[in-house]
Amino acid sequence: MWNRLLRLLFYTVVVGYACLTLGPFLWSTFTSLKATPDINQLWVPLSDLTFANYVNIVFSDQYPFARWFLNSIVVGLIVTVGNLVFNSMAGYALARIQFPGRTLLFMTILAVMMVPGQVILVPTYILLSNLNWIDSYAGLTVPFLVQSFGIFLMRQFFLSVPRELEEAAFLDGLSRWGTFWRIVMPLAKPALAAQTIFIFMGNWNSFMWPNLLTSSDAMYTLPVGLNTLYGEYDAFWNNILAGAMFMTIPVIIVFIIFQRQFIKGISTTGLK
């Protein structure tokens, strides 16, 4: 009897919280399909719903929404690939190769993780404006190609990989460079998946930096664009929420595809 009650309580919590997490998404989706006069009606018949808002924002002549989408994709891809390559290389070296200054470098990377990004907001802006990189893909990507967190993650992973394979490859006459790309990296798939999700999503959703480093609306990424939409069209919630859903749905899809490797990746990298 008690057990039954406990189980019931348990499932109430489980399902209840799922409603809390999914509810806002469903409600926002629902609103994004309403016509403008119905925005403040709590319920409208499903037959009155329309995709017009989505069409509106994508083909709007007032703001280049499609371009923002493209910018987000381009920046996200460049940053993710860069991070996968550079963080993995550095993580590998820190885990496997002895060289003078290694400890110092590792400590620096850890220390840098603690510095709030805002400390360098101002100098970075000055630096990039001197390079003439404000409002360009370069400014949105190059400073973000390396991340301490990713390096740390990869180092932890490589520490837990047995050395035998590498040593065998080395005896077979493969250079370290070749070993790394042909032997070590393929082993690192789960860690790379975890990194991909962290970095891509972090970048896709990042707001403060792109907000600062873009000044013409042709260079906005989605979050920056969405914020200006909210600023300008704050009375047209259906359009704003359609924009929000546009941003959210691709990420959700990516996450659902990768979630298995992702959780595996986190547990194998020793991030605990």
Binding site: M89, I97, V119, V122, F207, F255
Partner: protein, 313 residues
């Protein structure tokens, strides 16, 4: 920051074995080659700017016309002592952090335990709980603004319970607590996943042994799960504190950059941003940034001492 309890084989080799092994591990040239991109990037985009920011914090620096800049010594730092808006921002940020961190950590653990147990539809719940985390803060902010509007869904629901509605997100007394609620909702999934990874690393035979000794689920949790999750908890608490002290996006979107009403949602970073890019007092903004860094550093060290030995690298 690292939190592994490293088994011996992973420890740095202080006395590399002679012969093959040594040749294999010592390779300065390759070491530098592999870390070169990171070294360049860190120097140019992090360490350089940090040093420059430190220099700026002793300047009265006018960005629009750098020729008007001058050295002002510690003025920017002493100004922090008398700047009322900064005090408000610091108070708001501390309140936010104190409210969000404990709730975030305990809720994340609870959810991790749930999705790690033997329930039906485990994957579905994992994804459902993690979804808010993958959504952009900006998107979440506008979603919540809409839900918590005066005539929004939340108030419609509350009126059923006889509670009087208001514009929660824009109300001078309730804006910050509402944003805190939203922050917990948004970030708890991320920490849940990290806890989940930690839970899956606890050897199952420990529980089996405890079962044999007749320990119930609560005692198992208290004597096995919690102690073994200590490093994970440390990592999560540190991350959570750092995250809450750097909160910016939500406030920026919801208050349209101003931190209103009446500075009730003004956080340290939002204030820094406005000082830097609206008043263009880059020197003062840098001083605020270093103050924030010091606060975060001190808090991290305190936590490290609190959690004790095993969290050392």
């Amino acid at each position: 920051m690292a939190t592994t309890t490293s088994p011996p084989k992973q420890q740095r080799q202080r006395s590399p074995k002679a012969g093959r092994g040594q040749k294999w591990t010592r390779d300065p040239m390759m070491g530098y080659l592999f870390t070169l991109p990171v070294i360049v990037s860190l120097s140019v985009f992090l360490i350089g700017p940090i040093i420059y920011a430190f220099y700026l914090s002793f300047q009265q620096f006018t960005f629009l016309n750098p020729d008007l800049s001058q050295f002002v010594g510690l003025d920017n730092y002493t100004r922090l002592l008398t700047d009322e808006r900064f005090h408000t921002a610091l108070k708001n940020t501390s309140f936010y952090s104190l409210g969000v961190v404990p709730v975030q950590v305990s809720l994340a653990l609870l959810l991790a335990l749930i999705v790690n147990s033997k329930i039906r539809g485990k994957t579905f719940f994992r994804v459902a709980y993690f979804l808010p985390t993958v959504t952009s803060t900006v998107a979440v902010s506008v979603m919540f603004l809409f839900l918590f509007k005066r005539d929004g869904l939340v108030n419609a629901f509350l009126s059923l319970l006889g509670v009087e509605g208001r514009s929660w997100m824009l109300d001078v007394d309730f804006a910050l607590p509402s944003i805190m609620l939203m922050a917990v909702w948004t970030t708890v999934g991320q920490f849940m996943v990290i806890y989940l990874a930690g839970l899956q690393d606890i050897p199952a035979d420990l529980y089996e042994a405890a079962e044999v000794d007749g320990a119930g689920p609560l005692r198992q949790f208290w004597h096995i799960t919690l102690p073994l999750l200590k490093p994970t908890t440390f990592f999560i608490v540190v991350m959570s504190v750092i995250g809450t002290f750097q909160v910016f996006d939500q406030m920026y979107v919801i208050s349209k950059g101003a931190g209103g009403p009446l500075d009730s949602t003004l956080t340290v970073v939002l204030y820094l941003y406005n000082v830097a890019f609206q008043d263009f007092e880059m020197g003062y903004a840098s001083a605020i940034a270093f103050f924030l860094f010091a606060v975060i550093l001190i808090l991290t060290l305190i936590q490290r001492n609190f959690f004790g030995e095993e969290t050392r690298m």
